[in-house]
Each structure stands twice: as structure tokens, then as C-alpha cells.
Amino acid sequence: MAAAIETKKLTKSYKSRIHGRVNVVENLDLHVEEGEIFGFLGPNGAGKTTTIKMLLSIIYPTSGEGYVLGKEIGDMDVHKIISYVPERPYYYEYMTGLELLRFYGSLFGITDQAKFESLLTKVNLHRDMSKTISQYSKGMQQRIGLAQSLLNDPKLLFLDEPTGGLDPIAHREIRDLILSFRDEGRTVFISSHELSEVELICDRVAIINRGRIEQQGKLTELLRGGRVEITVRGVQPELLHGMKLRDTNVRNLPVGYLLDMPEEEDINAVVDGVRAHRGEIVSIVPRKKRLEDLFVETVTSQPAGSAPLEGPIGV
């Protein structure tokens, strides 16, 4: 499948008064397939927004290459078929919802009133189209953002923190919308902190930390390595040790023992073994690897003494 986004050693550095030249994004090799929902994760200051700004040619890379929908970044033709929903509403607050769509539409040469209204309906803002942006709630502002992003029927959407600060119902609405984008064949690039959301909807993710990509790939592959916790009673610890279970922790509990083992282990064999020695299975609880675990793991495994990054705000 063709790449919607491809970067090769994309780097952005700034001059810092204290640290000299600082790489805010370093040697980024990003790969996003067409038609997928891609999650771009990282802690604050990791370089997420900088990467998006470079891809949108709002700022210029120091070195490296980047391609969006097969064209080099900055190509204006590509801007006709991509769109961007910013993290906060960076819109003219005095405009009404309808006026906003009209304005952005005019930048594409779109003047179809019916189209504006249908988009507003799609994001459930039809009743509020005459209110000004300043009067919109956070959720409404996100939704108008999504509406303006659909004006040009984009093949690729950049969503920066699409569900940030929203209530659970709004979360769900946005999530469903994003899934519908994929169904429509669009590629969605999401930059987010909301790991649970990303885990639910993304196909592939990349984790960026201190300007470098630490992990990148399919979620299912990255989240391999879950564990299972089996609580047993009425068996001797020697038996458990004798089972030769790999990578298994045995913990004493008031009720008995807890076996914490990788999910790949043959659970049935363990259950049979315990039952054969007249032991009791109290509970079997699978603990899948969460994205959060992966994230924390990736982000905290830094060499000791690394200096904190200093880049412009919003990095």
C-alpha cells in the first residue's frame, strides 16, 4: 500500500542559549499507510506538534526528507487534499459556525451553502450554526474543527488531541466520527495523550520521546506480551516450582498463591497440573499488555543523566 506519510531522517533543531544547538525532532523515520488510523504518541515536549507542523510546512525542517501523499512537504497541491484540526480552536472567535466554514471553504474555492450545512449536520452543529465560536463549548469547538477539516474532502487528516478535555459522550461522538473517516477511505493521523482512545481506534502507532521515535508498528504486534494471573489454593509451593514455568512469579496470598505468568504459557496445562494435585483454581485473570504499559516502558527507559530538551512552546 502507498504511504500517506513518509519521512526519512527528518530533523528539526533550534539554537538554545544554554544548550547550544538542540534537536527537537531527530532523524525521524515515520511511515503511515494510506487508509489507516495512525496514532502518534509521546509525552509533553516530545516533538509531536513540531512533527505535525513540519508535515504541514508551517515550520521548516533543518534536515531530512518528508513526503505527504507522495509529494514533498510544502507542495501546495497536497494542501488541497489534506486537512488539519488543531488541538485548541485556532479560529476567529467572532465568526459563527457557518461563517467559519464559509471562510475556510473560500480558501478552497468552495461556496456551496448546502455543503456547509450538511457538514454542520454531520457534526451535529446544525442548530448552533448561527452562534459565534466564542459561544461554543469545548466539544462544539472540536466538532466545528472537524467540520472545517472535511470541507475539501481530504484524503489525509491531521488531528491534534481530538478528544482533549471532552466529556465521555463527546469522546464517543468524536471516536465514532474518526472511525467513519477510515470507513470512507481516508487516512487519519492522530496525535494524542489519550492512550485508551488510541488503543481503541488506531491501527498503527508510533511513540516519540525526546525527538526520537522509540516504537513504531501495528498495535497488535507492539502489545504482544500480556500476562495471566492464576490464583490457586491447596497446593504446595514445590509443585508450582516443579511445573517449570518460565518467567513466572509466585506470590504468597492469604488465600493461597498467585501465579503471574506470560500469556503464551499453556494455561490449560497449569490448571490441569494444579487440579491433579487436588489444588483449587480460585481465579484466572488475563492481564493484556496495555498501551499505557508500553508507553510508560518506552518513555521511562532513558539512560541516566540525559538532559531535558528545550524547545519552543508547543513542541
Partner: protein
Amino acid sequence: MRSIISIATTTVGEAIRRKVLLIILLVGILFLVVAPGLGVLSARSETTVLRGMMLGIIQLTSAVIAIVLTVYMIPNEIERRTIYTILSKPVQRWQFLLGKYLGAVLALGLMMLLMTAVLVFTFWLQQDRQVSGIADLIAAPLMYFVQMSLLAAVAIFFSTFVAPLVNFFLTGGMYLLGSLFNPFFQTLQESQGTPPVAKLFAQFVNTILPNFANYNIQNPIINPGQQIQNPQAYYMQATIYGVFYIGTLLVLGILIFDRREV
């Protein structure tokens, strides 16, 4: 072209909603309205004083509006990040800059039109509802409009690389300098004691500075009786000069803005 017009229209909409600009405009109009009353304080002919004062009010108010309008325009867009959404669309930076400038000039023009209307009305009343001489009077605000468009271009140019507060003083200073340099240069030229090097240097400065003084054509209007040959030709030349200088500033602004990290 379409993007430029859209951005310009949006800029006008923003400008007329900026309270500080509306207040300045209101103060200017208030002064215009009370001006006829102030004229009696002076020993001079009332008409002369009135003309001088009203034209002066229009000029000063327009200059303040032009500066306040334009020094914040682009930095605001960057600070509020509204520029991100726009630049993510198929809009080139030069189109954005040009659109903002045209919008500013349009907004300025509307405000000046309002003040000029008050001027014309006051004169019409003062002259016992006669219209003679009003056409000559209007030449000044028209020239001021070109002058303020040039001023706006200066501010926009500076705003591509300096902070608004610094820009305020830079542009204001440039306005003062550009207004005072013509008479100063004339003084140097006519004075015997000036060394040739100074004269040459002054000539150089007069060639590269934006000469706002070129548009201060109010003297013969305030003190009629002077015979001026073919003023329309001069107005045309000054306007073309303005267009050229604005073009220069916008090109420079685009060159800088294209490289700027937002």
C-alpha cells in the same frame, strides 16, 4: 487571488470589531465635530483654523488607527495560532500577508471615509450649505489615505520580524522621520553652511526613506490664494510613488515572512 480576497474580507471583519480601533475612531470624530467650536479661540480667520484643525485631526487619527491596526495583525495571528489552520490550507504565505495588508487598508479606508464624510458635512454646514471648494478640500484626505496605506505597509513589514511593542515605536518613529525629512532636507539644500557630504547623505536618505511628507498637501488648502499648477499630476505621482514603495515593503515582508518560523 480568491484566498487573498477571503483573507482580506476576514481582516476587515476583525478590524471593525476591535474595540480599541473603534474608540480611537470615535474620539477622532468627536474632535471633528467640536472643531468648529474651538476655532473661535484663535485670532486667525475661522475658516483657515477650521480647515487646518480638521485636516490635522483626520491625519493624526488615521495614523494612530493605521499603526494600532497593523502592528498587532500578524503577531496576533501567530500567537492565537489562527495562522496554522490557514496555512494548512492551500494558501501561500505571500497570499496570507497580502490578504492581511489589503484587509487592513480596506478597513482603514472605511474609517477614513467616515471621518471625511464628517469633514465635508461640517464644511457644507459652515459654508451655509454651499458646495464650492469642497472638492479641493477632499484632496487632502485622499492623499492621507495613500499616506496611511504606506504607513500600514511599513508596520506590516516590521511585524514580520519584530514584536508589536517594538514595532509600534519603530513605525511611529518612521512616520515622524518620513514626515519631517522633506522639510529638513529642503533646509539643508538651501543652507549655505552645509558640507557637501552632508547634503549627499541627506539626499540618499531622502531617496530611500518612505517620504510621508509628500502627502502633506494641506498648506494650499488651509491658506488658499496660492497658485498651484496642475495639482492632479502631483497627486498622481505621489500615489504612484506610494504604490511603488508599498510594493517594495510588501516584497521585503514576504521574503522575511517566508523564512519565518511560526
